[in-house]
Protein backbone atom coordinates (compact mmCIF):
# COMPACT_ATOMS: atom_id res chain seq x y z
CA UNK A 1 0.00 0.00 0.00
CA UNK A 2 1.26 3.46 -0.82
CA UNK A 3 1.94 5.14 2.54
CA UNK A 4 1.00 8.59 1.25
CA UNK A 5 -2.50 7.37 0.42
CA UNK A 6 -4.81 7.58 3.42
CA UNK A 7 -6.30 4.26 4.42
CA UNK A 8 -9.99 3.47 4.68
CA UNK A 9 -10.21 4.47 8.35
CA UNK A 10 -8.33 7.71 7.72
CA UNK A 11 -10.70 8.56 4.89
CA UNK A 12 -13.68 7.85 7.12
CA UNK A 13 -12.24 10.11 9.84
CA UNK A 14 -11.71 12.89 7.32
CA UNK A 15 -15.24 12.52 6.00
CA UNK A 16 -16.75 13.27 9.44
CA UNK A 17 -18.23 16.77 9.54
CA UNK A 18 -15.69 19.24 10.93
CA UNK A 19 -18.31 20.80 13.20
CA UNK A 20 -18.94 17.42 14.88
CA UNK A 21 -15.23 16.85 15.45
CA UNK A 22 -14.79 20.31 16.97
CA UNK A 23 -17.85 19.81 19.20
CA UNK A 24 -16.49 16.44 20.35
CA UNK A 25 -13.14 18.11 21.10
CA UNK A 26 -14.86 20.81 23.16
CA UNK A 27 -16.79 18.19 25.16
CA UNK A 28 -13.63 16.13 25.67
CA UNK A 29 -11.69 19.15 26.95
CA UNK A 30 -14.56 20.17 29.25
CA UNK A 31 -14.49 16.62 30.62
CA UNK A 32 -10.75 16.87 31.25
CA UNK A 33 -11.18 20.15 33.10
CA UNK A 34 -13.98 18.68 35.24
CA UNK A 35 -12.15 15.46 36.25
CA UNK A 36 -9.59 15.40 39.00
CA UNK A 37 -8.72 11.75 39.66
CA UNK A 38 -5.38 10.95 37.96
CA UNK A 39 -6.62 7.46 37.03
CA UNK A 40 -9.66 8.88 35.19
CA UNK A 41 -7.49 11.44 33.43
CA UNK A 42 -5.00 8.77 32.41
CA UNK A 43 -7.90 6.73 31.00
CA UNK A 44 -8.97 9.77 28.94
CA UNK A 45 -5.42 10.13 27.56
CA UNK A 46 -5.32 6.42 26.74
CA UNK A 47 -8.74 6.61 25.05
CA UNK A 48 -7.41 9.49 22.99
CA UNK A 49 -4.41 7.44 21.86
CA UNK A 50 -6.73 4.57 20.92
CA UNK A 51 -8.77 7.02 18.83
CA UNK A 52 -5.61 7.81 16.84
CA UNK A 53 -5.48 4.12 15.96
CA UNK A 54 -9.18 4.04 15.14
CA UNK A 55 -8.77 7.07 12.90
CA UNK A 56 -5.91 5.40 11.04
CA UNK A 57 -3.31 8.06 11.91
CA UNK A 58 0.11 6.52 11.19
CA UNK A 59 2.28 6.15 14.31
CA UNK A 60 5.10 8.25 12.82
CA UNK A 61 2.71 11.27 12.74
CA UNK A 62 2.50 10.98 16.53
CA UNK A 63 6.24 11.18 17.13
CA UNK A 64 6.48 14.98 17.00
CA UNK A 65 3.51 15.90 19.22
CA UNK A 66 4.49 13.19 21.69
CA UNK A 67 8.08 14.46 21.87
CA UNK A 68 6.90 18.01 22.49
CA UNK A 69 4.41 16.80 25.05
CA UNK A 70 7.05 14.75 26.86
CA UNK A 71 9.25 17.83 27.27
CA UNK A 72 6.35 19.93 28.62
CA UNK A 73 5.09 17.20 30.94
CA UNK A 74 8.59 16.52 32.24
CA UNK A 75 9.09 20.22 32.99
CA UNK A 76 5.77 20.47 34.82
CA UNK A 77 6.34 17.26 36.79
CA UNK A 78 9.91 18.19 37.71
CA UNK A 79 8.82 21.62 38.88
CA UNK A 80 5.94 20.31 40.99
CA UNK A 81 8.08 17.49 42.37
CA UNK A 82 10.60 20.06 43.55
CA UNK A 83 7.85 22.28 44.94
CA UNK A 84 6.28 19.34 46.79
CA UNK A 85 2.96 19.50 44.90
CA UNK A 86 3.41 16.37 42.82
CA UNK A 87 -0.32 15.46 42.73
CA UNK A 88 -1.21 18.84 41.25
CA UNK A 89 1.64 18.49 38.76
CA UNK A 90 0.49 15.03 37.71
CA UNK A 91 -3.05 16.31 37.17
CA UNK A 92 -1.84 19.33 35.16
CA UNK A 93 0.40 17.15 32.99
CA UNK A 94 -2.40 14.65 32.30
CA UNK A 95 -4.95 17.37 31.44
CA UNK A 96 -2.35 18.94 29.16
CA UNK A 97 -1.59 15.61 27.48
CA UNK A 98 -5.27 14.84 26.92
CA UNK A 99 -6.05 18.31 25.56
CA UNK A 100 -3.08 18.44 23.22
CA UNK A 101 -3.54 14.89 21.92
CA UNK A 102 -7.28 15.38 21.32
CA UNK A 103 -6.83 18.74 19.60
CA UNK A 104 -4.00 17.34 17.50
CA UNK A 105 -6.21 14.39 16.52
CA UNK A 106 -8.81 16.78 15.08
CA UNK A 107 -6.08 18.59 13.14
CA UNK A 108 -4.62 15.28 11.91
CA UNK A 109 -7.97 14.04 10.62
CA UNK A 110 -9.08 17.30 8.99
CA UNK A 111 -7.75 18.88 5.83
CA UNK A 112 -6.66 22.51 6.20
CA UNK A 113 -9.07 23.46 3.42
CA UNK A 114 -12.01 21.73 5.18
CA UNK A 115 -11.17 23.54 8.40
CA UNK A 116 -11.02 26.88 6.58
CA UNK A 117 -14.33 26.20 4.84
CA UNK A 118 -15.87 25.59 8.27
CA UNK A 119 -14.46 28.85 9.68
CA UNK A 120 -15.79 30.73 6.67
CA UNK A 121 -19.24 29.18 7.10
CA UNK A 122 -19.27 30.13 10.78
CA UNK A 123 -18.16 33.67 9.99
CA UNK A 124 -20.84 34.15 7.31
CA UNK A 125 -23.32 35.79 9.76
CA UNK A 126 -20.71 38.52 10.28
CA UNK A 127 -21.62 39.89 6.86
CA UNK A 128 -24.36 41.81 8.68
CA UNK A 129 -21.58 43.63 10.58
CA UNK A 130 -19.90 44.59 7.32
CA UNK A 131 -17.38 41.75 7.19
CA UNK A 132 -17.80 40.20 3.77
CA UNK A 133 -17.17 36.40 3.88
CA UNK A 134 -15.79 36.51 0.33
CA UNK A 135 -13.11 38.92 1.55
CA UNK A 136 -12.25 36.69 4.50
CA UNK A 137 -11.79 33.79 2.07
CA UNK A 138 -9.65 35.99 -0.16
CA UNK A 139 -7.46 37.01 2.77
CA UNK A 140 -6.97 33.41 3.92
CA UNK A 141 -6.02 32.33 0.41
CA UNK A 142 -3.71 35.33 -0.11
CA UNK A 143 -1.91 34.75 3.19
CA UNK A 144 -1.22 31.13 2.29
CA UNK A 145 0.20 32.30 -1.04
CA UNK A 146 2.29 35.06 0.58
CA UNK A 147 4.06 32.78 3.09
CA UNK A 148 6.29 30.98 0.52
CA UNK A 149 6.64 34.26 -1.42
CA UNK A 150 8.02 36.06 1.64
CA UNK A 151 10.23 33.12 2.59
CA UNK A 152 11.73 33.16 -0.91
CA UNK A 153 12.23 36.92 -0.80
CA UNK A 154 14.00 36.62 2.53
CA UNK A 155 16.23 33.85 1.20
CA UNK A 156 17.12 35.93 -1.89
CA UNK A 157 18.02 38.91 0.29
CA UNK A 158 20.20 36.75 2.51
CA UNK A 159 22.02 35.48 -0.58
CA UNK A 160 22.49 39.03 -1.80
CA UNK A 161 23.99 40.08 1.54
CA UNK A 162 26.19 37.00 1.52
CA UNK A 163 27.44 37.86 -1.99
CA UNK A 164 28.38 41.35 -0.81
CA UNK A 165 30.31 39.88 2.08
CA UNK A 166 27.87 41.15 4.70
CA UNK A 167 26.56 39.02 7.52
CA UNK A 168 23.65 37.17 5.86
CA UNK A 169 21.55 36.88 9.02
CA UNK A 170 20.58 40.26 10.29
CA UNK A 171 17.32 41.33 11.83
CA UNK A 172 17.46 44.50 9.73
CA UNK A 173 16.83 42.30 6.67
CA UNK A 174 13.20 42.78 7.68
CA UNK A 175 13.39 46.33 6.28
CA UNK A 176 13.92 45.43 2.60
CA UNK A 177 11.65 42.42 3.12
CA UNK A 178 8.75 44.54 4.38
CA UNK A 179 9.28 47.25 1.75
CA UNK A 180 9.46 44.76 -1.10
CA UNK A 181 6.37 42.98 0.26
CA UNK A 182 4.45 46.25 0.51
CA UNK A 183 5.46 47.20 -3.03
CA UNK A 184 4.29 43.86 -4.48
CA UNK A 185 1.18 44.16 -2.33
CA UNK A 186 0.32 47.56 -3.78
CA UNK A 187 0.75 46.18 -7.29
CA UNK A 188 -1.53 43.28 -6.43
CA UNK A 189 -4.10 45.66 -4.93
CA UNK A 190 -4.05 47.78 -8.08
CA UNK A 191 -4.50 44.65 -10.18
CA UNK A 192 -7.42 43.55 -7.99
CA UNK A 193 -9.06 46.95 -8.36
CA UNK A 194 -8.53 46.92 -12.11
CA UNK A 195 -10.50 43.67 -12.14
CA UNK A 196 -13.29 45.13 -10.06
CA UNK A 197 -12.52 43.19 -6.85
CA UNK A 198 -12.71 46.24 -4.58
CA UNK A 199 -16.00 47.56 -5.93
CA UNK A 200 -16.77 51.01 -7.33
CA UNK A 201 -16.36 52.84 -4.02
CA UNK A 202 -12.68 52.07 -3.74
CA UNK A 203 -11.22 54.16 -6.54
CA UNK A 204 -9.32 56.57 -4.33
CA UNK A 205 -6.97 53.90 -3.00
CA UNK A 206 -4.35 54.47 -5.73
CA UNK A 207 -3.49 57.74 -4.07
CA UNK A 208 -1.64 55.78 -1.45
CA UNK A 209 0.06 53.46 -3.92
CA UNK A 210 1.34 56.28 -6.09
CA UNK A 211 2.34 58.91 -3.56
Amino acid sequence: MNPSQPGRRARAARALPVGHKLAALAIFCAGLAWMSAPAALAAMVLACLLLYGAAGVPARRLRRPLAGLAVMAAAILAFHFAAGSFALGLRSALVLAGGILAANLVTETTRVTDMMDTFERWLAPLSRLGLDPARISAMLAMTIRFIPFLSNELHTMQQARFARGARPHSVMLAVPLVISALRSGDELAAALDARGFGGAADHNLDKGALS
Binding site: M72, M139, L154, V175, A181, G185
Partner: protein
Protein backbone atom coordinates in the same frame (compact mmCIF):
# COMPACT_ATOMS: atom_id res chain seq x y z
CA UNK B 1 -12.38 47.62 3.30
CA UNK B 2 -10.29 48.46 0.26
CA UNK B 3 -8.32 45.91 -1.73
CA UNK B 4 -5.13 47.51 -0.49
CA UNK B 5 -6.16 46.91 3.13
CA UNK B 6 -7.04 43.30 2.35
CA UNK B 7 -3.67 42.73 0.68
CA UNK B 8 -1.72 44.43 3.47
CA UNK B 9 -3.53 42.50 6.20
CA UNK B 10 -2.74 39.24 4.39
CA UNK B 11 0.87 40.32 3.87
CA UNK B 12 1.50 40.93 7.56
CA UNK B 13 -0.24 37.71 8.58
CA UNK B 14 2.10 35.96 6.14
CA UNK B 15 5.10 37.95 7.40
CA UNK B 16 4.39 36.79 10.96
CA UNK B 17 4.25 33.23 9.66
CA UNK B 18 7.43 33.61 7.59
CA UNK B 19 9.30 35.05 10.58
CA UNK B 20 8.21 32.02 12.61
CA UNK B 21 9.66 29.72 9.97
CA UNK B 22 13.12 31.23 10.48
CA UNK B 23 15.33 29.02 12.59
CA UNK B 24 15.56 30.26 16.16
CA UNK B 25 18.70 32.32 16.77
CA UNK B 26 20.76 31.05 19.69
CA UNK B 27 21.99 34.05 21.61
CA UNK B 28 25.16 33.90 23.69
CA UNK B 29 24.58 34.62 27.40
CA UNK B 30 20.85 33.90 27.06
CA UNK B 31 19.80 30.29 27.45
CA UNK B 32 16.60 30.61 25.44
CA UNK B 33 16.87 30.89 21.65
CA UNK B 34 15.02 33.85 20.14
CA UNK B 35 12.36 33.32 17.52
CA UNK B 36 11.43 36.21 15.29
CA UNK B 37 7.68 35.65 15.43
CA UNK B 38 6.66 38.40 17.85
CA UNK B 39 8.62 40.78 15.63
CA UNK B 40 5.77 40.21 13.16
CA UNK B 41 3.20 41.12 15.82
CA UNK B 42 4.95 44.40 16.63
CA UNK B 43 5.51 45.28 12.96
CA UNK B 44 1.89 44.53 12.01
CA UNK B 45 0.64 46.90 14.69
CA UNK B 46 3.21 49.60 14.05
CA UNK B 47 3.00 49.61 10.25
CA UNK B 48 -0.67 48.80 9.65
CA UNK B 49 -2.25 50.55 12.61
CA UNK B 50 -4.64 49.27 15.26
CA UNK B 51 -7.52 47.80 13.28
CA UNK B 52 -5.65 46.33 10.32
CA UNK B 53 -2.82 45.09 12.55
CA UNK B 54 -5.25 43.25 14.82
CA UNK B 55 -7.04 41.78 11.79
CA UNK B 56 -3.71 40.52 10.42
CA UNK B 57 -3.12 38.70 13.72
CA UNK B 58 -6.64 37.22 13.77
CA UNK B 59 -6.00 35.94 10.25
CA UNK B 60 -2.71 34.43 11.37
CA UNK B 61 -4.45 32.75 14.31
CA UNK B 62 -7.17 31.33 12.05
CA UNK B 63 -4.52 29.74 9.84
CA UNK B 64 -2.75 28.25 12.87
CA UNK B 65 -6.08 26.85 14.08
CA UNK B 66 -6.75 25.46 10.60
CA UNK B 67 -3.59 23.38 10.94
CA UNK B 68 -0.79 25.24 9.15
CA UNK B 69 2.53 24.67 10.98
CA UNK B 70 3.41 28.38 11.01
CA UNK B 71 3.91 29.04 14.70
CA UNK B 72 7.59 29.24 15.70
CA UNK B 73 9.14 25.80 15.96
CA UNK B 74 6.82 24.48 13.25
CA UNK B 75 3.86 24.20 15.61
CA UNK B 76 0.29 24.54 14.40
CA UNK B 77 -3.15 23.07 14.58
CA UNK B 78 -5.67 23.05 17.39
CA UNK B 79 -3.11 21.52 19.78
CA UNK B 80 -1.58 25.01 20.12
CA UNK B 81 -4.80 26.13 21.82
CA UNK B 82 -4.47 23.35 24.40
CA UNK B 83 -0.79 23.97 25.08
CA UNK B 84 0.71 25.85 28.04
CA UNK B 85 1.85 28.81 25.91
CA UNK B 86 -1.60 29.48 24.44
CA UNK B 87 -1.94 32.79 26.32
CA UNK B 88 1.16 34.28 24.67
CA UNK B 89 -0.39 33.37 21.31
CA UNK B 90 -3.94 34.59 22.08
CA UNK B 91 -2.48 37.99 23.01
CA UNK B 92 -1.17 38.64 19.47
CA UNK B 93 -4.19 40.60 18.15
CA UNK B 94 -4.47 42.62 21.37
CA UNK B 95 -0.78 43.45 21.28
CA UNK B 96 -0.96 44.47 17.61
CA UNK B 97 -4.05 46.59 18.33
CA UNK B 98 -2.41 48.37 21.26
CA UNK B 99 0.84 49.02 19.38
CA UNK B 100 -1.12 50.18 16.35
CA UNK B 101 -3.32 52.46 18.45
CA UNK B 102 -0.28 54.14 19.99
CA UNK B 103 1.58 54.35 16.67
CA UNK B 104 -1.47 55.91 14.98
CA UNK B 105 -0.97 58.82 17.36
CA UNK B 106 2.82 58.74 17.25
CA UNK B 107 3.24 58.44 13.49
CA UNK B 108 3.41 62.14 12.44
CA UNK B 109 6.16 62.83 14.99
CA UNK B 110 7.68 59.36 15.05
CA UNK B 111 10.42 58.85 17.57
CA UNK B 112 12.33 55.60 17.90
CA UNK B 113 12.56 55.76 21.71
CA UNK B 114 8.80 56.15 22.07
CA UNK B 115 8.29 53.38 19.51
CA UNK B 116 10.52 51.11 21.59
CA UNK B 117 8.52 51.96 24.72
CA UNK B 118 5.25 51.19 22.91
CA UNK B 119 6.67 47.86 21.70
CA UNK B 120 7.77 46.99 25.22
CA UNK B 121 4.36 47.75 26.74
CA UNK B 122 2.31 46.18 23.94
CA UNK B 123 4.60 43.52 22.53
CA UNK B 124 5.99 42.31 25.85
CA UNK B 125 3.76 43.61 28.66
CA UNK B 126 0.42 42.75 27.09
CA UNK B 127 1.63 39.41 25.73
CA UNK B 128 3.00 38.39 29.15
CA UNK B 129 -0.19 39.68 30.80
CA UNK B 130 -2.18 37.10 28.81
CA UNK B 131 0.50 34.43 28.67
CA UNK B 132 1.65 34.15 32.26
CA UNK B 133 -1.74 33.59 33.98
CA UNK B 134 -2.73 30.99 31.37
CA UNK B 135 0.65 29.27 31.68
CA UNK B 136 0.09 29.18 35.43
CA UNK B 137 -3.41 27.80 35.04
CA UNK B 138 -2.43 25.05 32.60
CA UNK B 139 0.80 24.04 34.32
CA UNK B 140 -0.72 24.35 37.80
CA UNK B 141 1.72 27.10 38.81
CA UNK B 142 1.13 30.21 40.86
CA UNK B 143 1.37 33.56 39.09
CA UNK B 144 4.80 34.34 40.52
CA UNK B 145 6.20 30.95 39.56
CA UNK B 146 4.86 31.22 36.01
CA UNK B 147 6.28 34.75 35.78
CA UNK B 148 9.73 33.50 36.84
CA UNK B 149 9.55 30.77 34.20
CA UNK B 150 8.71 33.36 31.53
CA UNK B 151 11.51 35.68 32.57
CA UNK B 152 13.98 33.69 30.49
CA UNK B 153 12.36 35.10 27.34
CA UNK B 154 12.54 38.73 28.48
CA UNK B 155 16.06 39.61 27.20
CA UNK B 156 15.24 38.26 23.74
CA UNK B 157 11.90 40.06 23.72
CA UNK B 158 13.59 43.33 24.66
CA UNK B 159 15.99 42.91 21.74
CA UNK B 160 13.03 42.29 19.46
CA UNK B 161 11.19 45.38 20.72
CA UNK B 162 14.27 47.44 19.84
CA UNK B 163 14.63 45.77 16.45
CA UNK B 164 10.95 46.34 15.67
CA UNK B 165 11.28 50.03 16.53
CA UNK B 166 14.36 50.36 14.28
CA UNK B 167 12.65 48.47 11.43
CA UNK B 168 9.52 50.61 11.79
CA UNK B 169 11.64 53.77 11.60
CA UNK B 170 13.42 52.51 8.46
CA UNK B 171 10.21 51.42 6.70
CA UNK B 172 8.58 54.74 7.63
CA UNK B 173 11.38 56.53 5.78
CA UNK B 174 11.60 54.04 2.92
CA UNK B 175 7.90 53.48 2.25
CA UNK B 176 5.88 56.20 3.97
CA UNK B 177 2.71 55.39 2.04
CA UNK B 178 2.24 52.23 4.12
CA UNK B 179 0.17 54.46 6.41
CA UNK B 180 -1.66 56.25 3.59
CA UNK B 181 -5.33 56.05 4.43
CA UNK B 182 -4.81 56.20 8.15
CA UNK B 183 -5.69 59.68 9.36
CA UNK B 184 -2.53 60.11 11.36
CA UNK B 185 -0.40 59.60 8.26
CA UNK B 186 -2.38 62.16 6.30
CA UNK B 187 -2.05 64.68 9.10
CA UNK B 188 1.72 64.09 9.15
CA UNK B 189 2.26 64.58 5.41
CA UNK B 190 4.00 67.89 4.65
Amino acid sequence: MKSRDIVHISLFAALTAALGLLPAIPVPLIAVPITAQTLGVMLAGALLGARRGALAMLLFMALVAAGLPILSGGRGGLAVFAGPTVGFFLAFPFAAFFIGWCMDRLWPRFNIVQAFAVNVVGGIGLIYLFGIPLLGMIAGLQFGQAAWASLAFLPGDLLKAGAAAAITAAVRRGYPSVRAGSQAAIAGNP
